[in-house]
Symmetry: C2
């Protein structure tokens, strides 16, 4: 006797959580950037188009980093115009003034800079000290704000760093303040190597609030390396965070940390939020279908539990 | 530049959580029972022995169900004496009076009965109504208590049921009360098909507390089918639950639900608890090594994210 198909979870709201969560979808940029085999521009555009069709309202499209550093995203000039008609926000990464010029030339209205909370990762990723990186971003953010763009500041290694171990909370708060002071509209607190646990999340968010950072300016970006991403997200929601980064199908990883698996899967997040009665506007069935479609292009199955369960993929 | 190995997470306690959690390890019973290929008794015994060597204090050993229903555990009479010298608790499943006789004959001191919160699953799993199953358990529990055994009551389908959909909280509370009233020392609230989300967990635990059930008598048993198990565990800890079922390496599944993947992986749980500063007594490195050893015997990799990350297995 086999059981019938399961529906969606029963919505049972919990107290003290945001009524609506904005998902910042990073699959097309953060998810794909470490793929070794080049994904054709047309496939990326179709991926973004399908993601937009699921109801996701913020879809990070690409990065205007130098092609030498991220060859997978070297087609930003071709990709962006191919999707810019979509009625969604399409933030793009701009690592420096040249990247901002390229983004502006294509009409981008939301950009993001990419800072590090630790010296080791600033050195590895940007070949600069933390403060040198901030100094490099300052005119970029200033010009973006002068052009009336929305600016997101990514902050990597907010919890642990593979070289430095646990990252002290005050160190993270300092860089957050610097990014906001230079004009960033929102921050994305990244657990790049997946070592955060819920108490650590609560401690960092509490410290940021105490430092005067409005929780409305904070997003969280968890990796599921040790299976902690969704529990950490719950802890962040309990602190009032209502912007959560996730990657369709759990695409992505970190090239600088050996066993770092992907980002939090958007589907696992949507499942939890739907169960909590929190509105996201996302059609889960369409999203799963999109991730299955993308996984087929990449030649492997999705690591997302929800994608696997709803599409009957084997572990 | 590759990053060095990561250590364990930084311990950052969160407020309002238990200081110690007892992990009820179910890998050897619940994890193995659905394996199609027979696992040799000596391998099971070695698995339990290695689990005991990690510091786990409660290791469910086997089931005294009729071999026709669970062929994998038909060796209970051989297995139990092979591990009963271990200085840990070794609960065993007893489905009925005959099973209890067999367990008592071998000197078992902790037994568990297996009830259902829904009529559909009671019918599928026990071929009885919920109340008929309870009536069958009553003399079993009574005799076990007369013999001074510790009795656990498993309750399946506490959140959703593949036939019935969402399971009303009062229905679960009623069966919990019945199991406690007949003498069960503790209950394990099972999300057999993995559809629970944190608000639902909070709602059920709140209702049980309001019905006079002490939280110290409650354990939780989550499945990771949709990736929700650890977030649900966090919600349960926040309600004061301090007994959590988990399966080493995430072994196990539910034979009655198509895409139901395994139990919460003990390693992912231990990682979170360690990060929360909650004592479990478990050596995570030894536990990962044990799961890798068992996975090799089963001819596949572990679905646990923590096992994969710490043992450098690919997704």
């Amino acid at each position: 006797m086999n059981a019938p198909e399961l529906g969606l979870p029963m919505a049972v709201p919990a107290g003290g959580l945001p009524s609506r969560v904005r998902i910042h979808e990073v699959g097309a940029r953060d998810g794909l950037q470490n793929e070794k085999a080049t994904v054709p521009t047309a496939v990326k555009a179709e991926f973004i188009r399908r993601l937009a069709g699921t109801g996701l309202g913020t879809i990070e499209a690409t990065s205007f980093v130098h092609p030498r550093w991220v060859p997978q995203l070297a087609d930003a000039e071709e990709l962006y115009p191919a999707v810019s008609d979509l009625p969604v926000s399409l933030p793009v990464l701009v690592p420096n003034a040249r990247g901002l010029d390229r983004a502006l030339a294509l009409g981008a209205r939301r950009v993001a800079v990419f800072a590090s909370a630790t010296e080791s990762f600033a050195k590895a990723n940007l070949n600069r000290t933390v403060d040198e990186a901030l100094a490099m971003f300052e005119p970029v953010v200033g010009r973006a704000k002068a052009e009336d763009l929305h600016v997101r500041g990514y902050l990597s290694m907010c919890f642990g760093d593979p070289w430095e171990g646990a990252v002290p909370v005050p160190q993270v708060v300092r860089v957050c303040r610097a990014l906001l002071d230079m004009g960033c509209d929102e921050l994305s607190l990244g657990d790049t190597v997946g070592v955060a646990t819920p108490g650590h999340v609560t401690a960092l968010l509490t410290a940021l609030t105490e430092a005067g950072v409005p929780v409305s300016a904070l997003g969280v970006h968890f990796h599921d390396t040790y299976g902690q991403a969704l529990a950490n997200t719950l802890a962040a929601l309990q602190q009032g965070v209502s912007t959560v980064d996730a990657s369709a199908g759990g695409l992505g990883g970190c090239p600088y940390a050996k066993s770092a698996t992907g980002n939090l899967a958007t589907e696992d997040l949507v499942w939890m939020l739907r169960g909590l009665g929190i509105d996201t506007g996302v059609d889960l069935g369409r999203l799963v279908a999109t991730s299955v479609w993308m996984a087929a292009h990449l030649g492997r199955t999705s690591p997302s539990r929800t994608v696997r369960a709803l599409s009957h993929q084997e572990q």
